[in-house]
């Protein structure tokens, strides 16, 4: 965050300040911000925080990773072959529009309450932006590029790894950037709905045991994870696009 964007924090700071002044630490709805941090550690619950954060990050990371591999592979297949694209079109249209929350009960029923179930749900939700960006990236490639590869008599694998993938890279990275917040939201959602583990499960627990200050503290933690993860992905994206600009110069 640059210093130029700092003045923009004023309303948030003002809101929290006002909340602090008006809210009491025992309010069942809006406990004062100063009571949030201590609430993380009351009743010996402090030890749960770090493992929960790690669980959330693991599910999120694994889910996004698998979604990327799967999305890029399928995206290239669909992008290269019109027939495949047409055949799976309606199926994908449906799967993409399906609210991810609706998958959760089915997933728990079929797969049980465990880590793989969490990852499967995250993959199913985060897959689409990557897949669609990859396939449209492939479709929009200038035909000259593939003709060049053919006239240079490159092998199929070489064409894919030396020509196709690098040219589609910005589209893939864009897809990953769109998929990142989705993957995180769905991770927290599954955790909240199934209480398997992670930050989402802790928020649910805090809510069910009526610890509002703890709920707000965990919301802040979720927000921090999201800010860090998103800015990481954005800097990767900047790196990729800068390298491409550099190539052209």
């Amino acid at each position: 965050m640059s210093t130029r964007s700092l003045p923009g924090l004023l309303p948030l700071i003002a809101l929290l300040g006002l909340w602090q002044l008006l809210g009491s630490p025992d309010s069942p709805f809006f406990p004062a911000p100063s009571s949030w941090w201590p609430a993380l550690f009351t009743r010996g619950q402090g030890a749960k925080i770090v493992p929960a954060v790690l669980d959330t990050i693991r599910t999120f990371g694994l889910g996004l990773f698998i979604a990327t591999i799967l999305g890029v592979t399928l995206g290239i297949l669909i992008g290269v072959s019109r027939q495949v694209g047409r055949a799976v079109g309606p199926t994908f249209e449906f799967a993409r529009a399906l609210p991810p929350a609706a998958i959760v009960p089915v997933a728990t029923l079929l797969l049980g309450f465990d880590e793989p179930m969490k990852v499967v749900v995250v993959v199913l939700a985060a897959l689409w932006p990557i897949l669609l960006n990859t396939s449209s990236g492939v479709q929009e490639l200038p035909p000259t590029l593939l003709d060049t590869a053919r006239s240079l008599r490159l092998s199929r694998t070489r064409t894919v790894f030396r020509v196709l993938l690098p040219s589609v890279m910005p589209a893939i990275v864009l897809g990953i950037r769109v998929a990142t917040p989705i993957a995180l939201v769905i991770t927290l959602l599954v955790e909240y709905l199934t209480a398997v583990n992670g930050v989402g499960a802790l928020v649910g627990e805090a809510q069910r045991t009526f610890q509002p200050a703890r709920v707000y503290a965990l919301i802040v933690i979720a927000g921090l994870i999201s800010l860090i993860v998103n800015s990481l992905v954005r800097s990767v994206e900047d790196g990729v696009s800068r390298r491409r600009v550099g190539d052209r110069l």
Partner: protein
């Protein structure tokens, strides 16, 4: 479409002849039967109307708030400078985590569902409106000045139409998000609608019925999406539609 049918047939054969046995996995024929019962009893229709109603209402309110605020932030550099970071930071917090807070504050109620849907829907509209207004080519602003249009005229005739494609993208993203949040709220908070139907079927261990609700939710998503896309086509000249693709 044929792929869908082929998948359904394969699924039916696998389950019917116990080639692949997965516990709680109903055959498509069982799902169809469950769907028939549920449709005849009117249960689905009632839940569908509830979810669609809350989604549409919440989305409508979120759109008005998002566009109004977005226009203000997009047009006023001062407002932008002194608030944008606050919005960025707040937006980063996954809206799902506000579900527990909303439950604590509003209890198991329609109000809680509506508040969540509105909160989630505001963000895409807001961000895309700001983006649309601020990314208008500087040449276009110069055109407005050169033709000596008044500020109001410039906003009405140049800024708003130029930002429209981006705003429409925001509205479409918001609609899918509103649907997701409505279903989540119904699953954990407000005992009504499709989300509650899903959870009830899950708890009653009626997998076929559960699949019925999953399919209905998916179809609803498709329907809402294509409705908005058609509306966008009517609103925009065809060259601007490219931006709306995907």
């Amino acid at each position: 479409m044929s792929v869908l049918v082929a998948l359904a047939v394969l699924w039916e054969v696998l389950v019917r002849f116990k080639i692949a046995e997965v516990q709680f996995l109903p055959a498509p024929s069982e799902i169809a039967a469950a769907a028939q019962d549920e449709i005849l009893s009117g249960e689905i229709l009632g839940r569908l109307v509830h979810t669609v109603g809350v989604t549409a209402l919440g989305w409508g309110i979120a759109s008005v708030i998002g566009m109004g605020l977005g226009l203000l932030l997009g047009l006023s550099p001062l407002a932008y400078r002194y608030s944008m970071t606050s919005f960025e930071v707040t937006r980063a917090i996954p809206p799902i985590t506000f579900v527990p807070a909303a439950l604590l504050i509003f209890g198991f109620s329609l109000k809680m569902e509506l508040v969540l849907v509105i909160y989630g829907g505001v963000w895409p509209v807001l961000i895309n409106t700001i983006g649309g207004v601020r990314s208008i080519p500087p040449e276009l602003r110069d055109v407005g000045r050169m033709l000596r249009l008044s500020r109001l005229e410039t906003i009405r005739k140049v800024v708003l139409p130029a930002a429209l494609p981006s705003v429409l993208v925001g509205l479409r993203l918001a609609l899918s998000l509103c649907l997701v949040l409505a279903i989540v709220a119904e699953m954990v908070g407000n005992p009504a609608g499709l989300g509650n139907g899903l959870i009830s079927a899950r708890q009653a261990l009626q997998p076929a019925l559960m699949f019925v609700y999953v399919i209905v939710a998916g179809l609803l998503g498709v329907a809402l999406n294509s409705t908005l896309r058609t509306a966008a086509k009517l609103l925009l000249p065809s060259n601007a539609l490219k931006e709306l693709a995907s």
